[in-house]
Symmetry: C2
Amino acid sequence: MTAPVRAADWSCPAPLREHARIVLGHGGGGILSAELVEHLFLPAFAPPGPDPASPGTDAAVLADAAVLAVPGGRIAFTTDSYVVRPLFFPGGSIGELAVHGTVNDLACRAAMPLALSAGFILEEGLELDLLGRVAQAMGRAAATVGVPIATGDTKVVERGLADGLYINTSGIGVVPAGVDVRPDRAAPGDRVLLSGPIGEHGIAVLSVRENLEFGGDVHSDTAPLHGLVAAMLTATRTGVHTLRDPTRGGLATSLCEIAAAARVGVEFTESAVPVPPVVAAACGFLGLDPLHIANEGRLVAFVAEADADAVLAAMRAHPHGRDAVAIGTVTAEHPGVVVARTAFGGTRIVDRPLGESLPRIC
Amino acid sequence: MTAPVRAADWSCPAPLREHARIVLGHGGGGILSAELVEHLFLPAFAPPGPDPASPGTDAAVLADAAVLAVPGGRIAFTTDSYVVRPLFFPGGSIGELAVHGTVNDLACRAAMPLALSAGFILEEGLELDLLGRVAQAMGRAAATVGVPIATGDTKVVERGLADGLYINTSGIGVVPAGVDVRPDRAAPGDRVLLSGPIGEHGIAVLSVRENLEFGGDVHSDTAPLHGLVAAMLTATRTGVHTLRDPTRGGLATSLCEIAAAARVGVEFTESAVPVPPVVAAACGFLGLDPLHIANEGRLVAFVAEADADAVLAAMRAHPHGRDAVAIGTVTAEHPGVVVARTAFGGTRIVDRPLGESLPRIC
């Protein structure tokens, strides 16, 4: 426990300096746990105080739970654990993923984020400096979204029983009145819109994990999508039927799951799906299908035909949708089956991968 | 992957039988992930369908997030990860803990549970049979509380990078109008009430982990406390100032944290705190302080003096508070300091443990 704390973006505050690394006691709920919260997490997360307009609310009191004001109506609730390896990769880290992934799950129910939680499972021996940098990345990502990290928890397990750190982020968001976005609303005639090129997150993580060069820079596309969804809803409150962010399992899995949930067929043109050259090259080299590669800042939308042009225009006017494209349509034929029209004029059935070609991608 | 599935309370359904153990692909978001959700988690959790009274809600659609109806006002939001070792112990398992711990964090803000999330981090090689038994325990505990497990997530890490399984459970609950329960509301004159004997959860886990015999049976006190809190609030909506469930760090830590948050002193009579003989014997043998041992089904309440007798009576009338006792009072003197009156007529200052005498207790 005497290793010096390295200089970094984040510098370990004085009361924590006697520990350069996480010890089991940091998860014990006693003085060490309190120091970690007070001197590392709270400054990184900069939680807001009570809402002056809503007496009896708080997201900063170190209580068992945060109390938040909500309008009557509907809220969305989601959870995701993040176990990505490595913790830092080109374009981001587990900290950004832990915020964006959960915000995007809310956005895919058209919910605007209200609060996030952060549950850390830390491995004994983890450098406090590294934990600080991850917490700072989470705090910055949450501040950019404009959502508080309102409640948290820290556990520590013995050395060897985790891989540095795992994060769970749950989130709650407010669903606007009159909006109903869910997988089983996709309907025959819907147009299928994709917000941008696919595969960059998965290939960026793979490139550093396997120390591969693919003949070009590749960065994770990790980004929050609630703003893009809000822009789409200004074009139509009812015409956006289904949204999905194609993370693990890639675009193919999202399309298959929606086809199954809504009992419809999906047809799309393979050449209409933008695949960056570096992703195509990496997939060719490794024998992977770009449709199976994970994304973290993309969404696929199923939109009523009458509203599709307006929604596509709204997407293209937003920074996270400027490369949005229409890739296909929904049909009443072959329910549950996704068909790609290939560049050679034929068709092929697209299926989910069995497991994951690239484990621990988020 | 050819080991036979053992017969157990929970029996592995047919589509999963070809795998007796978790493989990395179960976390990949593809077909194997879907099978795990469909055949193991959903039957165990038995989530409710859409609320017919609230169109556009669901807790069963396999979407990115659940959508739930909420009344306008305040909700509580909390998160906890569970890393208890061993996974099964006398009186419960990680499954019950994962439900009760989060329900109790909500209850300590006086919130009645609305929905839980379940985020699993599984170790490659984990027996599906064991996972099924844990999920069944969670489902039973949630059903007893009457709260849906509305949303979930599963990740798998390579063998050796977890300890079987870890669970994160976040929760949201509705805070009744006119109720404001938080650590900094404890005030001079308040009576300190304890819902029952302490130390049983920690000693039960220790007994199996270290294979110790303490001359008596000891079972975890794990229990949900929302019903007890609701009973207390029927006695007074405003007089219950502060609630806490003394988990990691024990009763001493809860009292110290409340004294610090509210800038008050706390005085209590050591002999008034019920310590079961088996807990006292184990602590004496191991050199531990019962005040530092974790509980999972107990709460400490700070109640306005005028309401204290009525609240104590309401607690004793409830199954989870039938052994409730008044143990002390809040004073304006020595703010931030907790003082115990000892059996010998003296006093001693009670402090939090530095770390945790017993790691991974929840």
